[in-house]
Amino acid sequence: MVDFGTAELTLEMVQASQLGMRALGAGLAVGLTGIGAGIAEMAIGSAAVGATAENRDVFGLVLLLTVIPETIVIFGLVVALLLLF
């Protein structure tokens, strides 16, 4: 057992914990933005399906509108990748 209260922090330990923090941050970035994009797409998607049921012609347009919030999760992914590499 290592007594964390008194054990000295070695350089390796600091580096390892930094690595872990970066991985955590990357995970949070993707996960939280994913939730955000999901919430945003939820309303648009249901409206889009309704509109398409009414009129097939608007499919292209509503598909476009539905994927717009995906930008959020792309940003999250970019941040995560920059953190990791």
Binding site: G60, L64, V67, I68, E70, T71, I74, F75, L77, L81
Partner: protein, 647 residues
């Protein structure tokens, strides 16, 4: 190229006697887009909408008959392969001689089928009603005809005990149980209450005599014989379909053409003796159709070329080199270009496959998608579907090319190092060459974004001159330049503060700060002079450019999934078992192969979706919003390309 096809506006006037010939000639050439005549109530001239040609209603009813037969036989002209073109004269002859007989036969068969279906339904219904009674050993005659007794029949939740003199049958072999209770009339109400307390639901006693089980059997046998007869009728209909499909689709085509021709005068303006029509013809074919019309009418026709005064009224037809024309389907999904604006189809046709390849750069996936797009061509008959498949095949070729550059094959490395930047992630502890060059790829994608948006804004300046006139045009051009200046101003400012690899390093030049700041301020002023509210949109400059990072991000996620599948299937399941083969090991290997196959099939689908949607989205949202309006009218020439018949 880069512009919709040029159109000429023709006005044709001729005596009514020539209307037949002229309509026929226009239809044959299939280039004349009719502008429908709309009568104005206050119009001084006595112009009115024309009447259909004589015989129109006969042709229309014949077409109705043909469509009815096609419907009954399940023939869809769009999905019928063309075997040989039938001569139109022969089809006309056959319509007179053979069509009525075929129609009679099909009508008879369809009527017989619906009669049989009704019979089958009825007997099935009867059998179903008899089902609960079959569980009770009583003949049907025994249920009715009493004056002093009451008979309860119905479903019930559970058996009940009746404490008055009675006769009772209970069965739990049917759904919802079955109970039959016979009591004297004076106990009726009491028993009914007891039964209802136990969840009694009365069901009526079916008519008939004898044992319910025998009755049920008889009905089922009847239903079965009806369904056999239906199968026989269906077979007859199938034989008719086999025998007459070619003739029927030819009839359909010929009659559709005749109906269209016969109804064309409804779109013309007429006077007592003459008719007038206005329409559009592609520039390069206008002279030919003029000459043709003059020849067939012996000069009894007046054709004038009118000025194109309102560009919004001109129908729009694409004019693209053949490799770019399939991309028109992607344009139509968004909006057809207006007549006056630039047609970006060519640019989309070039850039879309590149984006797709950048995202899904993998030789394996590219080859699978290429095979898919070539294979599906046989099954997809519609024009749009085929065009989409062509777009997909170009995209997958680009994916293979980028796969070679990235050195990727289903997530494995090819025997060479990545020529472009490597996307090989460190999954499963195997790194080939150097690890992923994410930062470099990111910067490349930002560069692509900057250049793509710059191109969009330049096109925006060109289009602005076409949309607006006079002072407003200048304002719009300056606003577009302002957006461009703001973006580059921000870029130069960033470059002069931070040294970023693969981008100009301006940190040593204080002048650059000044240049950047001036560009930024001038740009913002340029934007604001058209509409100050647009300032709110300034952050989109950054978000749109960063949005191009998806080219790398989506691609990397697809690489990661592929590598994880490989690691799970091969590294974790198959390889450890290969050292010493045991019976359980064989199962593990088989499961590993399954994981590998299912995983890569899913990832191919994801890659197609991700690569396709994100590439086209970058065009629609980031590129088109800079310059493209769309909303042009579709060019729809009067006429038809005959598939099944020939004159």
């Amino acid at each position: 190229m880069l512009r919709p096809e040029r159109m000429r506006r023709l006005l044709i006037a001729a005596p009514k006697g020539e209307i037949d010939t002229i309509i026929g000639e226009l239809y044959r050439h299939n280039v004349y887009h009719i502008e429908d005549f709309v009568p104005e109530s206050e119009s001084a001239e006595a112009l009115s909408i024309g009447h259909p040609l004589p015989g129109a209603s006969d042709v229309a009813s014949a077409l109705n008959d043909v469509r009815a037969i096609e419907n009954a036989c399940g023939i869809n002209p769009d999905s019928v392969e063309v075997k040989a073109k039938l001569p139109a004269s022969k089809v006309r002859e056959l319509i007179r001689t053979d069509l009525p007989a075929i129609l009679e036969e099909v009508k008879g068969l369809v009527a017989a089928r619906s009669r049989l279906e009704a019979r089958q339904k009825e007997h099935e219904q009867r059998a179903k009603e008899l089902e609960p009674f079959a569980a009770v050993p009583l003949d049907l005659d025994l249920y009715h005809g009493y004056t002093r007794f009451t008979v309860f029949t119905g479903h019930i939740a559970h058996d009940v005990s009746v404490d008055v003199p009675h006769e009772k049958y209970f069965s739990d072999r049917v759904d919802g149980n079955m109970i039959v209770v016979v009591v004297q009339n004076e106990y009726r109400e009491q028993v009914e209450r007891d039964l209802l307390d136990a969840g009694f639901q009365a069901i009526p006693v079916p008519e008939g005599t004898g044992s319910p089980a025998d009755n049920q059997k008889a009905h089922l046998a009847e239903a079965q014989s009806a369904s056999k007869e239906i199968a026989g009728v269906n077979e007859k209909i199938a034989r008719i379909r086999e025998k007459h499909t070619d003739f029927l689709v030819a009839c359909d085509e010929l009659l559709t053409a005749e109906v269209e021709r016969a109804q064309a005068p409804l779109r013309f303006a007429t006077t007592e003796e003459t008719f007038i029509t206005e329409g559009w013809v592609p520039d390069d074919r206008a002279d030919r159709i003029r000459q043709a019309l003059e020849t067939v009418t012996n000069g009894r026709i007046y054709i004038e070329e009118l000025e194109v005064d309102d560009a919004a009224r001109v129908p729009v037809e694409y004019e693209n080199p053949s490799f770019a024309s399939p991309t028109q389907v992607l344009m139509d999904i968004y909006a057809r270009p207006r007549y006056s604006e630039l047609d970006p189809t060519l640019m989309v046709a070039i850039v879309f496959p590149i984006f797709f390849g950048l995202i899904l750069g993998d030789v394996g996936y590219g080859a699978v998608l290429l095979a898919l797009s070539l294979g599906l061509r046989r099954f997809l008959k519609g024009d749009e579907g085929r065009m989409l498949l062509k777009v997909l095949s170009f995209a997958s070729i680009s994916s293979i090319v980028f796969g070679i550059l990235y050195s990727e094959f289903f997530g494995f490395a090819l025997p060479w190092n990545a020529v472009l930047f490597s996307r090989h992630l460190n999954i499963g502890g195997e790194v080939h060459g150097h690890g992923p060059q994410v930062a470099e790829l990111m910067i490349i994608s930002i560069w692509i974004g900057v250049l793509h948006i710059t191109l969009g804004r330049i096109l925006g300046m060109i289009n602005a001159r076409k949309f607006h006139h006079g002072k407003h045009a200048t304002k719009a051009v300056i606003a577009n330049a302002g957006w461009l200046g703001t973006m580059w101003g921000i870029l130069i400012l960033i470059w002069s503060f931070y040294a970023i690899p693969m981008m100009p390093d301006l940190t040593g030049f204080p002048v650059a700060i000044a240049v950047g700041a001036v560009l930024l301020v001038a740009g913002v002023i340029g934007i604001a002079q058209e509409n100050p509210l647009e300032i709110v949109e300034l952050p989109t400059i950054i978000s749109h450019v960063l949005s191009y990072a998806r080219l790398v991000a989506v691609g990397l996620s697809s690489v990661a999934i592929a590598m994880v599948i490989n690691f799970i299937a091969i590294g974790m399941m198959i390889e450890p078992q290969l050292e010493a083969i045991t019976p359980i090991g064989v199962i593990a290997i088989i499961v590993g192969i399954l994981v590998f196959l299912v995983g890569h099939v899913l990832n191919t689908a994801l890659g197609l979706l991700g690569g396709g949607l994100h590439s086209i989205r970058l065009h629609y949202v980031e590129f088109f919003t800079k310059f493209y309006k769309g909303g042009g009218k579709k060019y729809n020439p009067f006429g038809m390309k005959s598939k099944f018949t020939e004159e």
